[in-house]
């Protein structure tokens, strides 16, 4: 009897680990399809795809930070900072678009590296150091703009956020898919990715294998900052201006997408491909709730519950051991 119970538990865990995220996504799609007649259409999916691309791109960086055993709360203010910074240098200094974006990404890497430095060298807990950075970046974004949106953006910049490839495929969605290919390559095929999992899974064993765990930590946060900055640039294009006040919910959405995708908050574990599904679950949930006319406050309550559920599910093997 008990043996049956434990083997059921085990097989459920294995099933959830492998297909849980796809399963949840499928149930969600079926539910909203019945709940609202306009939900199930290609157009709606592409529009959801555009909405989640900002979350999805940042979630790639968050995934890496989670794997190394950290967390990055500052991706929210990075979204705002990168948006206003890239718009401002484009408008005020007349820099070409590609250069504005490049400099913004470098700034993202720089602030990310500071996060990594705080964690690895100063031994400040990741939650604290990136929370501080969240506030610092928010301050900088407001200082740069006097709290006003940065206007005067070029048409090309707006195209990055609002445009379509072949007239139907949203550019941000395309960028996100490319970034997921890049992220998958980094995590699954490069020496850096291997070392990242090694440090996150067992940092002492990694250190004794000659891996410089401090440098790895700094690099990982720098990469996370870069991805977060990229999502900020695209978001500015989408909004048509650099907005200093956005991004408050962003860390929460990004984190939930990664955890839904099976990335362990305890480090060392998780496959990035599933994070893409995690982002879709979040996006479809928002989209469906808006369609059903659920008000925003309830949406916040539900999103919080989803995060708790996602972490619970990813921790099930630990919980069932107690």
């Amino acid at each position: 009897m008990t043996a049956n119970k434990t083997s059921f538990k085990k097989s459920f865990l294995q099933f959830y680990k492998k297909y849980g995220v796809v399963f949840i996504l499928a149930i969600e799609i079926i539910f909203f399809s019945f709940a609202h007649k306009n939900f199930l259409s290609l157009n709606n999916f592409l529009s959801v795809g555009r909405q989640i691309s900002f979350i999805g791109i940042a979630a790639i960086g968050m995934t890496m930070v989670l794997i190394i055993g950290g967390i990055d709360i500052s991706v929210g203010s990075m979204l705002a900072f990168a948006g206003v910074f890239s718009t401002k240098i484009l408008v005020d200094f007349g820099l070409p678009l590609w250069l504005s974006i490049l400099i913004t990404l470098i700034m993202g890497a720089f602030f990310g590296a500071i996060n990594g430095f705080s964690c690895a060298i100063l031994h400040i807990p990741a939650l604290i150091s990136t929370l501080a950075m969240q506030t610092i970046l928010k301050g900088i974004a407001f200082l740069l703009t006097n709290a006003l949106p940065v206007k005067g953006m070029t048409k090309e910049f707006k195209y990055l956020g609002q445009g379509y490839l072949f007239g139907f495929f949203p550019i941000p969605l395309l960028v996100m898919l490319i970034m997921f290919v890049l992220g998958t390559w980094i995590l699954n095929r490069t020496t850096f990715g291997r070392r990242l999992y090694a440090v996150g899974g067992n940092s002492e064993a990694a250190r004794l294998s000659g891996i410089n765990t401090k440098v790895m930590t700094i690099l990982t946060y720098a990469i996370c900052g870069t991805f977060a900055a990229l999502s900020g640039v695209l978001m500015a294009g989408r909004l048509g201006s650099g907005q200093p006040s956005i991004g408050a919910d962003h860390p929460m959405d990004v984190l939930t997408a990664a955890v839904l995708g099976g990335i362990s908050v305890n480090g060392g574990k998780g496959n990035i491909v599933n994070v893409l599904f995690g982002a879709f679950i979040m996006g479809i949930l928002s989209n469906g709730m808006v369609m059903l006319g659920i008000n925003e406050y309830w949406q916040w309550v539900l999103k919080g519950i989803v995060l708790l559920l996602a972490v619970t599910l990813s921790n099930l093997d630990v919980i069932t051991e107690d």
Binding site: R194, N202, A206, S209, I211
Partner: protein, 503 residues
């Protein structure tokens, strides 16, 4: 009989099994009121297991504990304390940020009107406790600011507060200076006068003879004998601790010529844990580092490998003086370390077997940062065959493997780097006999290939059976060198207990 009446504690058939291993095997034992009772034995003999069951820290698998006529099949820490058993562990149980008196009264604070903490009363009572012990201690000092010796006094004061009738001390003198040991002994003498029974675990022979009334010798989870201290001498204790069965076949050695010049030389190496260590390591030999836990064996190889900070001393690789190594540099200079704690330091349990095995090869098997999966697999397959690793698929997590096979993938990781110098720290701990023999064979093969090998092990037969020479350590100091083929366990144990060999 009168002894039964004066026994404060009796243990019958007490047994503890951890998984498949028996840490304590049907122990019958007793303590007389007011005696100082020493327990001696090698690492893993079961001393701590026995004491921890008395203190309620671990639950017995079988048997009973009788305290003052009351019989228990198991104790929890609170019950043990209520019945007067207090254990002082090697790692103290104190809150570093709080003053001494608050630590003594932690959880049993003296209060005014049931709410307000009465500081003055607690300080006064603490001073009284120290007075009883015959020492002067300012009980308002913060724990973090006082020395290890004082921390120990605080632990003893805490025990007195609990009205301890039986005080168990696990190697209390290990961190103390000679003078402090003297003070501790005086205190223990005073506690004895007050009728408190002391159980005293120690590796130091002189202390056992200086202090105790009786000594119990343990080996392999069994109580071998309990004797009056006047009826036994150091030599007999050591030979009883060691036992005399050798249960393992080791590869025949002596076919290989060792290299003319040392591959690795260490001069006056000093860290926090070791002092003035000097030795030479030659190619084609296995050099053993023996000693008790905490003697500094692991610390020597960690210092050379760049894992611990070196205070002073020089390291020469193939005759050339080297700067302090980082782990990364040590690896590139073809040094390898199989660490003692496999799960914490060696293997990545949540990573695939393949990724564990190739962690040191990443740069070799990749181009433009991208790993070539074919090259990776080829390298791994070779070692799976060579080391006869029993596993499912290379993509399974390392946690799916048995201890012995986990150790083999750690070995594969290091062997793939083709090291010239390899440190094995407790390579056979917690693995089955078959895998043990395979690891011995592998070490012998490395020796015959002319590699320089250091082996650290707590298992005496293994050290004697495998090593060409053995350096014996005691509390961070080198006590002497013996030859593996001719040395006896008694020789090594004598040196490891801080004594000189009589020749």
């Amino acid at each position: 009989m009168s002894t039964a009446a004066s026994n404060v504690l009796e243990v019958k058939g007490l047994t503890k099994r951890f998984g498949g291993t028996t840490a304590l095997d049907h122990a019958d034992w007793s303590l007389a009121k007011g005696e100082i009772h020493a327990i001696a034995g090698e690492n893993g003999a079961g001393k701590s297991t026995l004491c921890k069951m008395l203190a309620g820290a671990i639950v017995p698998s079988e048997g009973s504990i009788t305290i003052d006529g009351k019989t228990f099949s198991k104790l929890n820490p609170a019950e043990a304390k209520r019945n007067g058993i207090v254990m002082i562990y090697q790692e103290f149980n104190l809150v570093p940020e709080l003053p001494i008196y608050e630590n003594i009264f932690l959880g049993k604070e003296i209060t005014k009107f049931g709410v307000n903490v009465d500081k003055a009363a607690m300080i006064k009572k603490s001073d009284e406790l120290f007075h009883q012990m015959g020492v002067k201690v300012d009980s308002r000092k913060i724990i973090a600011d006082i020395s290890v010796a004082y921390c120990q006094l605080v632990e003893i004061a805490k025990a007195l507060m609990e009205n301890a009738k039986i005080l168990i001390m696990d190697e209390p003198t290990a961190p103390l200076t000679n003078q402090e040991v003297g003070i501790l002994f005086e205190i223990i003498g005073r506690l004895k006068e007050r009728g408190i029974t002391i159980v005293y675990i120690s590796h130091r022979m002189e202390e056992i003879f200086e202090l105790s009334d009786r000594v119990t010798i343990m080996r392999d989870g069994k109580i071998i004998t309990t004797r009056e201290i006047g009826d036994i001498d150091q030599k007999e204790i050591i030979s009883l601790m060691v036992g005399h069965e050798l249960g393992m076949d080791f590869p025949v050695r002596g076919k290989t010529e060792r290299s003319a010049e040392p591959v690795l030389s260490v001069r006056n190496l000093t860290t926090d844990k070791i002092r003035d260590i000097s030795f030479d390591l030659y190619g084609g030999e296995i050099l053993g580092l023996a000693g008790l836990v905490g003697a500094g064996r692991t610390e020597i190889v960690r210092a050379i490998f760049g894992a611990d900070k070196i205070k002073s001393g020089e390291i020469y690789l193939r005759g050339k003086k080297t700067d302090k190594l980082s782990i990364h540099k040590a690896i590139s200079k073809k040094i390898g370390l199989i660490p003692e704690d496999r799960k914490r330091q060696g293997v990545h349990l949540e990573l695939p077997i393949l990724h564990n095995m190739t962690l040191l090869q990443l740069d070799r098997i990749s181009r433009l940062m991208t790993i070539n999966p074919k090259k990776e697999r080829a390298g791994a397959d070779e070692f799976v065959k060579k080391l006869r690793i029993k596993m499912g698929k290379l993509s399974d997590n390392a946690s799916s493997l048995s201890g012995g096979n986990q150790q083999k993938i750690v070995l594969a990781k290091w062997l793939a780097n083709e090291p010239d110098i390899l440190f094995f720290d407790e390579p056979t701990r917690g693995i089955d006999v078959g895998a043990k023999a395979e690891i011995y064979e592998l070490m012998d093969e490395l020796r015959s290939q002319g590699k320089a090998v250091i082996m650290i092990s707590s298992e005496m037969p293994e050290v004697l059976g495998m090593c060409d020479r053995i350096l014996v350590l005691y509390e961070g100091n080198m006590m002497g060198e013996v030859i593996g083929e001719t040395a006896t366990q008694d020789d090594v144990m004598t040196l490891a207990s801080g004594l000189k060999l009589e020749k």
